[in-house]
């Protein structure tokens, strides 16, 4: 997929057909010139009667029809090739993005990716739909025309032969510049998209800080910058067509002059020959010039294509999962952390050498100050990132030897910011499982998550639409939707990230009951701040700066670990000693 030429050759048959059509078009152009000349010559110099020229006039009509038809057909083929290529590329690119590990996927700006998938791919269109058919026309038509001119009058042929090579030379020189500039343009467009999306979402914040004016100026700058890069590309393109225009005008002028001289002074050619050549010479240059106009489109389209295809080259260390299927049992698997270490590539933070064993249906609390590595540990357990050293062992085997699907099938992850897509509440709950579910199951899950009364108070109940990123739901409600997903899935492992964040006490109580219910069939691993969760945990992992300080129950840690005791005291409302 890395090579743009390869994308063309996938459609070999249509390309050959295109060549055939173009040759036909070239022939039509030549015959047209001869017929026209015959008519003009006939009535102007040979003083023929009108009936003597009616047959060439009728023949001319048919030729013109053929010319229009071949033109239509070849452009149409270009359009259909372009559609196929776009379809393939968008599909491959999407697959590529989808396979990225979460860590990497969250790295880039979303707007940029959207712009690559939409604008990038769309811009590839004109390369296939216009540029390729035009290249064919501009190769074969001038060639045929030139051959005919040579047979008619060698001098004119030589004039064309001398001036014509300037055209491709100009194009190559200028085309190289255009391509570079157009890559720049796509870059600018992408960064403009990114900046705009970011600004749009942060508008509330900007308003509160009285910064909308400044942001508007920045947007204006970014937008004008985009205009300037576009103009730079266009200027190159315009200069190119200016040069082409000049070359062709001068050549046509020289040919016309030469023909006139031959006619008058040497009387070596006939009016017929002169007029045929005069009609054909502009056709010769028009084909080449049209290449010039499509050339810059084609080039910038090629630039876009290169940019898009480059995305495929980007290295990503996607997680290498194994091929083993994990036995899907009723009883949760035993999980062991075995000298587990992890470092983020872009920061100094390190999770050190952790050892722990989570038995089936245990309640595990991960505790520590913020920034101590709790969430990182949860990400490792979810398989979103892989350890640098050591391993997570499940059923006595390294987690990464299993397939990703068989691990995720066991798992529910309830994050701090559950993702609510736009759709109905029912659909959002059903997202929890890949299996087909009926309304009854959704209802039950909502019931267990304590969100059923709220949903049933709505006019459309489970069919109520909720918007992008769940606008219209409070964070407590989102979390409950997320828990309902878990109930629907019936996982054997539940990963929970700060489950009670920002919720009021009544909701919190509902959630705690829900989690306890999940715990009856699953191991629950929680990043916890709430002492209730911590106190009832079978094991507490106490983290400090990425180090696992201690593992134990509440009472042992309270008695043996001063740092832990201090934390608990504060939570109880006491002051730091």
């Amino acid at each position: 997929m890395q090579n743009i030429k390869k994308t063309v050759w996938r459609h070999k048959r249509r390309i050959y057909f295109l060549v055939g059509l173009t040759l036909l078009l070239g022939l039509a152009i030549i015959v047209q010139a001869f017929l026209m000349t015959r008519i003009v010559d006939g009535v102007f110099l040979k003083n023929l009667s009108f009936s003597a020229v009616t047959s060439p006039i009728l023949a001319l009509f048919i030729i013109l029809l053929i010319r229009a038809l071949t033109d239509y057909m070849s452009k149409r083929i270009g359009v259909s090739i372009a559609s196929d290529v776009k379809r393939d590329v968008r599909k491959d690119l999407l697959t590529k993005y989808a396979q990225q590990p979460v860590q990497l996927a969250e790295k880039g700006q979303t707007g940029k990716k959207v712009s690559m998938l939409l604008d990038g791919v769309d811009e590839m269109d004109s390369f296939y739909s216009q540029f390729i058919p035009q290249v064919m026309q501009s190769t074969f038509v001038p060639l045929l025309v030139m051959i005919v001119i040579f047979t008619q009058h060698i001098n004119s042929g030589i004039i064309l032969l001398v001036s014509a090579p300037f055209i491709p030379i100009f194009m190559i020189v200028i085309g190289i510049q255009t391509q570079k500039k157009s890559e720049e343009k796509l870059e600018k467009l992408a960064s403009f998209s990114g900046a705009f999306l970011d600004t749009l979402q942060g508008l509330v914040t900007l308003k509160l800080f009285g910064r909308t004016k400044k942001q508007k100026d920045e947007l204006e700058q970014s937008s004008l910058g985009f205009r300037d890069t576009t103009m730079d590309i266009l200027k190159v393109a315009f200069t190119q067509s200016f040069a082409l225009e000049l070359i062709s005008m001068i050549s046509i002028g020289i040919v016309a002059l030469e023909l006139a001289i031959q006619l008058i002074i040497y009387e070596s050619i006939s009016f017929f020959t002169a007029f045929v050549i005069l009609i054909l010479v502009p056709e010769f240059f028009t084909s080449l010039k049209e290449l010039g106009t499509t050339f810059h489109n084609g080039r910038s389209s090629m630039g876009a294509a290169k940019k898009v295809l480059q995305e495929f080259d980007e290295q990503d260390d996607s997680i290498q999962w194994g091929k083993n299927e994990m036995a899907q049992e009723e009883v949760p698997p035993t999980i062991q952390l075995n000298h587990l270490s992890f470092t983020y590539p872009t920061s100094d933070f390190k999770l050190h050498n952790m050892d722990a064993t989570f038995l089936p249906k245990q309640k595990i609390a991960i505790v520590g100050a913020s920034g101590s590595g709790k969430t990182t540990l949860l990400h490792l357990l979810a398989g979103m990132i892989t350890p640098d050293e050591g391993a997570i062992n499940v059923q006595q085997q390294d987690l990464v030897t299993f397939t990703e699907a068989s691990w995720l099938n066991q798992l529910s992850y309830i994050s701090q910011h559950p993702y609510i897509f736009s759709g109905t509440i029912g659909e959002n709950i059903a997202m929890g499982t890949t299996a087909a579910v009926d309304e009854k199951a959704i209802r039950e899950a909502a019931e267990k998550a304590g969100i059923a009364p709220l949903i049933e108070s709505l006019e459309n109940q489970y069919q109520t639409k909720i918007g992008e990123a769940g606008r219209g739901l409070s964070s407590g409600e989102k979390q409950r939707v997320s828990i309902a997903r878990a109930f629907l899935k019936k996982p054997t492992i539940v990963l929970l990230d700060e489950p009670t964040r920002g919720l009021d006490l009544a909701t919190e109580k509902i959630l705690q009951q829900s989690i306890e219910q999940l715990n009856e069939t699953a191991t629950v691993i929680t990043v916890a701040h709430r002492l209730h969760t911590i106190k009832t945990a079978d094991q507490i992992l106490f983290l400090e700066n990425g180090q696992l300080q201690a593992v134990g129950t509440h009472s042992t840690l309270f008695d043996t670990l001063p740092a832990y005791r201090e934390m608990v005291t504060i939570q109880r409302g006491g002051k730091q000693a």
């Binding site: 969250e106 998938l117 914040t205 006490l505």
Partner: protein, 572 residues
Amino acid sequence: MSALQKVIKLMLIEKKDIVIAICLGFIAGISSVGLFAASGYLISKAALIPPFYALIVLTSTVKLLGFVKAGAKYGERLYSHRATFTILSNLRVTFFEKLEPLVPHVFHKYRSGDLLGRVVGDVESLQNFFLRVFYPPIVLLLVFVSTIFFVSFYSLAIAVILLLGFLLTTIVIPALFSLRQVKINGRVRQERGDLSTEITEVMYGFRDLKLFQQLDTKQNQLLSQSETYINEQKQENINKVYSQSFNGFITFIVSWFVLAIGAYLVVNGTLEGIFLAMLVMISLTVFEPAAPMAVFPIYIQESRDASNRLYDVVDEPDIQPSETNISINHLPDVPPGLAFSDIRFTYKGEWRTTIPNLSLLLPAGSKTAIVGASGSGKSTLLQLILKMQQVEAGQVYWDQHDTLTVSGSAIWEQTKVVLQENHFFYGTIRDNLLLADPGLQDDQMNAVLASVQLENFSLDTRVSENGENLSGGEKQRLAIARALLKKGHLWLLDEPTSSLDAQTEQSIYQQIFNQADQDTLLLVSHRLQGLEQMDQIIVMNHGEIIESGSYQELMELEGYFYQMKTLEESLL
């Protein structure tokens, strides 16, 4: 005024460039016709063996016209494109300006990916409006009128054929194709917008979609959507190609007629044979600029759709802020007193009234906490003060002023806000802190970072989009840092420390209270501890105040607050 008219109005700001482009376009068009006419005449003349000087004059004319044409074309392109892209830039900025007052209401109606699609894609497609819809017909008309006028000196019949050809290629055929185009009518743009929206959403929800193993389903959904989009595009392109080839064919036929009728006239003796070649050359050339007219209806349709989609958003009646008489644009730089007087409020599209009736007084310099179940209307009070929402009945007062008469920016200037969800911009920590005050020095910012226990962050630390690389607790502390750095005497804090552990929370509250000593402060809290130092605590349930008083008073009352407190302690 239709949306397209609004676009035209915006466009006419670039009047000068437009006029220049039209003039140069005319010169280019007419000199090209002249060039071919002269060369046709030259050859015919040469066949008759004329005096040499006539030939010299003719060839020089040909050459001169060639240079003029090339130069004028270059200028036309340059000016028309420059005008176009400036117009586009103006459009984007105008759109943003119009959008700004509609936030946050606009998000109830449109998704941000959709808005992005509109501002980038639709604005981009409006470039064709000027380049292909607005000025080429003017140029074309000028060139044709001059040419037909010229031809009529030689043969009226051929002038009439050219006129008919002109009407056919620029009016009749485009009109017929625009009927065809109606069927496709904006579906392409619509599909594009939908696709953009969906892709954006999938990218945002990437993590959850992956963990829930829903990525494949979503991916297939996107692919089938892309398929529809591509097919619509293909349909449109084929229509375009068809229309172009058909129009091309008509221009051939016109030349054919010119040739046939011309030949007949020459035989007849009504036209001198020497002009036949010239007239044929003219007919072959003059239609060259008419070729783009074939796609005129497509572009006009596209422009209409694009401008409608743009203005639909900003003119949407549901989301317009209500017009009121703002008389106060600046508030004094002192702690304000706030009062809610018999207010009622319902969220748009919500099934229940959030606040049925509420009155509340917040004296200047007082510290108030609001507690209550989620959905009880706590945050709504903050939004009403900030004019993010508007009361249905009753008044909100800032000192003696009804906030309806105070501009939003005056209020925001005086408030330090930490919301539940705070936005962070793509950039660095410094960029995000400088929002509070562009004049801040690095050491000031570093000091504040330290005071919220974020000393491990450098000002150059990268912040990714939406602050995705920050933890919940880090985001909250950064938001507090930003508020600490901002000017103003009213603190509005909506569960500012909910993601923080108790230890950090305590120390950060201390920082806030130290700085807010003289200021008015309103805190929405989910935890009941640490509220002993508040002047008053408001307990809300279902949009009503059910209890209020100091911590001590409420505890002695042994009511709802006391029960909440007991529940909280039992949870510990």
